[in-house]
Structure formats: C-alpha cells, structure tokens
Amino acid sequence: MTANKTDVIIVGAGVAGVAAGITLARAGKQVVIVERGSYAGAKNMFGGAIYDYPTKDIYPEFKEKAPIERVNKTHRYMITDDETAVTVSYNNEKSQTSYTVIRAKWDKWCVERAVELGAYYSPMTVVRELIVNDGKVVGIKTDEEEFFADIVILADGVNSTLAKQIGLRENLKDSEIAVGVKEVISLPKEIIEERFNLTDGSGCVTEIVGAPMKGITGLGFIYTNKNSVSIGLGVNIDELKKHKLTPNDLLNQLKEHPSIAPLIKGGELLEYSAHLIPEGGFNSIPKLYGDGVMVVGDAAMLVDNVHWEGTNIAMMSGMLAAQTAIEALEKNDFSAKMLSLYEKKFKETSFYKDMKTYKDVVKIVHDNSYSFLSFYPQKINEFFEMFTESGYIPKKSLYKRFIKNFVKKRNIKGLIKDVINFAKLFIGVLK
C-alpha cells in the first residue's frame, strides 16, 4: 500500500457514487470518493423525489435523520392544452414511498454518513482522465495529481467523459438526452399546503404533458418542498434543435399556463438550474464493466425514462458495483471477467426488468409525437370543455360534432395508426 494507492476510487459523489462508497466503507474497504463540486450536491439538480426503496437499505436511518422536504402523498397527472388542463389526482395519506429532497442538502448528508463509516472524501477535485495500463484501468488523473486503485467506479453522471475515454460509451445522441431546467420558487409553508391541498409535511408531485410542449417529447413537473415549489421541464435535445426552441422559453410558457400560474403566484425565484437527463432507456445501456472499472448510475444511462426515476436505479447500481468490488478485493481479481458479476447482478433487479418493459415506450411516443403529445391532449381537453359547458345547443349534437371533428382532424388512417401504436405500447409493456 503506497500513499497514493487505495482499494477503490469512486468518481462522483452523486447518489450512485455515495451509495457505492458507503457500502465499501461498511465492509471496511479503503475507498476514496472524488467530487468536482465544492460540496456534494453543488453541481447537481433533479426534480425531485427519492424513493424508500432502495434508500432505506443504504441509509436505514434516513426517514428520521436525513434532510427531507416532504413525504409525497398526492400524485397529479396534468394533460394540458393551451388554456385548459385535465388533471387526475391520486391521494394516499398512508403512503411512505416517495420523498422530495434538495440535492445540495441530501447529497451532503449522504456523503457525511460515508465519511463517518471511514470513506475518504475529496471534494473540489476534478478527474480529467483515467490512467490505463495495458487496457486495464488503474487510476485517475486530476488537475494536479495521479491516484491509483485496484478498482475505479465511474459515478460521474450523465456527461461521463470518463466512460467515453475508455470506449464504454459513444458520443451521446441528441434523441437520447433531454435537457432539464428548473426554478425553485419560495412560498410560505401554509400557502403551499393550501394551494396543493396538503396536510402538514406531506407533498404533491405533478407531472405535466401537453402545452407548452405540444407535439414535443418532453415532460413538465412540479414538486413541493417545505418552503418552496420546484417547477421545471425536460425536453429532448433533438426537439429543441428541430423546433428552434430554448428550454427557458418553454419554462416561461409553462409557468404562465392558466392552470399552473396560480400555484406559484407571488413566489420569489430562489434559484434557476439546468441538468441533462439520460432518456435512451434500456436500448442505450452500455457494457457496465471493463478491466479494473465499473460504471454506475447516469454515467451508465440507468434512468427509467417513462417515470423519470433515476436516483433509485443509481443507488442500486452503486450498491451492486460496491458488493462486486468487495468480492473482487477478497479474491484479488480485478479482471473484466470478475467485474462482469456486477452486470449480472444488475440484470436481476426489478429496475433492469422495468427498463426492459418500457424499452420502446419513449421511442413510440417520440416517433408519434404529434398524435400522442399534441392531438390527444388537445382532444381530451376539448371533450371536457364540451362536457362541462351548458348552453343552447343540446349535448347530443355537441357530442356528434365532437366525433365528426375528431375524425376530420385525424382521418381514419391516422386513427388506425394510433390504435396500432397504442396497442404496440401495451403489448410491449405486457410482453
């Protein structure tokens, strides 16, 4: 053991890296976690919610001790047209599975737990390159120094320049990556609870499809924090290029939507932020290992792109990579063959299976973005407009007119195509 050599180096103190670090520290292994931000979370942004599973396996005390904003007991799905919205709301006061957190606080708390258990933590350190010897990863190069380890775990997030360096990842495709923007808007606790119809300490997650992203693959979101509301959206990069739109303009439009504006009215902007989201899903997962190296979390594109869940998969992949590293250290074998065990373990998880189930969903929606994300959201809203209005025209003729219009706007061929695509979605999911 030399001064600059350790068992395992982890690049990135995001949710995946710290889950790996804490698992290794618990097992008494020497682990160094390297983070480019001045603290863990300083460079990170998400919606966001973290989930009970697998968080509680890694941080058993998190519900009592971690900096949690709210427990999400209400989930809303909003289908928006330009001026109107159809909202489905589900409430379960007993639910204890989803929690809003702020990354600057959450990531910091997690890394502190890892340090308590013996991990060595080095913030404000940018890893520029991996050191590769005979095709085997043996260490890292920062702006100033070189460090060596038996195993390097890449937890450096969606932009992973390191996975690309060693050929585990290609250039990112613009159709497989979304850019997310978010505003955190401060509001008094009581006002948040009143506007979102919440009991003390509980939260609401809102997902939005349709306007202002009509016909564009993208998703809007609203999360409630203790004393603030996070509102944002994610849009595929190829869509922004094609429609010559900026994410900030879309966010401004979302905030002005008549059904959304009252929720954030009078609040003050605390912080604007942006981050990428891997949207490629199952089909974009690369090989997860090489000689002396494993890739976890966003660096390996491990995001459930239908539900936009990434933190749970990131934590799980970090934990499994660490468990594999522990076995490898005991056998003193750091070969690709040994580390392939991590990929095998990951393929047995429910997360991998879910990603497989949804493998074509986003692609089908993307390829049919007009019908799925513009035409139907609009028609659903028009239906409710007709259904709720009372006037001098009898309802029956309104219904007839609606159907006639529906078929006129989307001819029989188009409708059949949509039915086939809907069927494909369901068959794909159930198969």
Partner: protein, 94 residues
C-alpha cells in the same frame, strides 16, 4: 419579482467563473454551421452568433455546466470541459 430572461434568472445562481473559457467552439465549423443549435439548446443563453465579427460569442461565465451544447453541436466539434476545481456554479437548491 418575476424573472423572465436567462440573464435575470442567472443572478440567482452562485458562481465563480474562471478567466479562461472551458467551452471552445471550432471557429471554422461555426462559420459554416447552418443551424447553430448550441444557441437553442443552451438553458443559459451562453452562445450568441455575432454577425459583425463572424464568430460565436461564448459567455462562458453564465454556463450552468449541463452539457446540452456538447450533445447538440451540429458538427460535434465543440471542445467541452468541466471548469477547473473551485470554479463554476454552486447550486444550493438543486
């Protein structure tokens, strides 16, 4: 206070910019680039084509380090790096 444009919104982000840019477009490629997609995808309005100077202005001090421009670059020739340790953004509400 209602902020709309990115310059106003960026005032809410704590940042300590370096003196040299961590984002370096390829001058020749930008000149002949038809779409100049970096201008649209950037959430911080970092890229601005300057006709009189025939080059892409890079307001790197506004960068949120997201990576969208790197993915979007029509010629895949933008040299994109993270800022040096201690520089760049520090989120408090991410």
């Amino acid at each position: 206070m209602e902020y709309k444009n990115t310059d106003e919104k960026l005032q809410t982000v704590k940042s300590s910019p370096d003196v040299v840019s961590h984002l370096v477009p390829n001058k020749e490629d930008c000149r002949t680039c038809e779409n100049k997609s970096c201008q649209y995808v950037c959430p911080a309005g970092v890229y601005e084509w300057t006709d009189w100077d025939d080059r892409m202005l890079v307001k790197f001090e506004n960068c949120l380090e997201c990576g969208a421009c790197r993915v979007a670059c029509d010629k895949q020739s933008l040299v994109w790096k993270y800022p040096k340790a201690g520089y760049g953004i520090t989120y408090k509400q991410g």
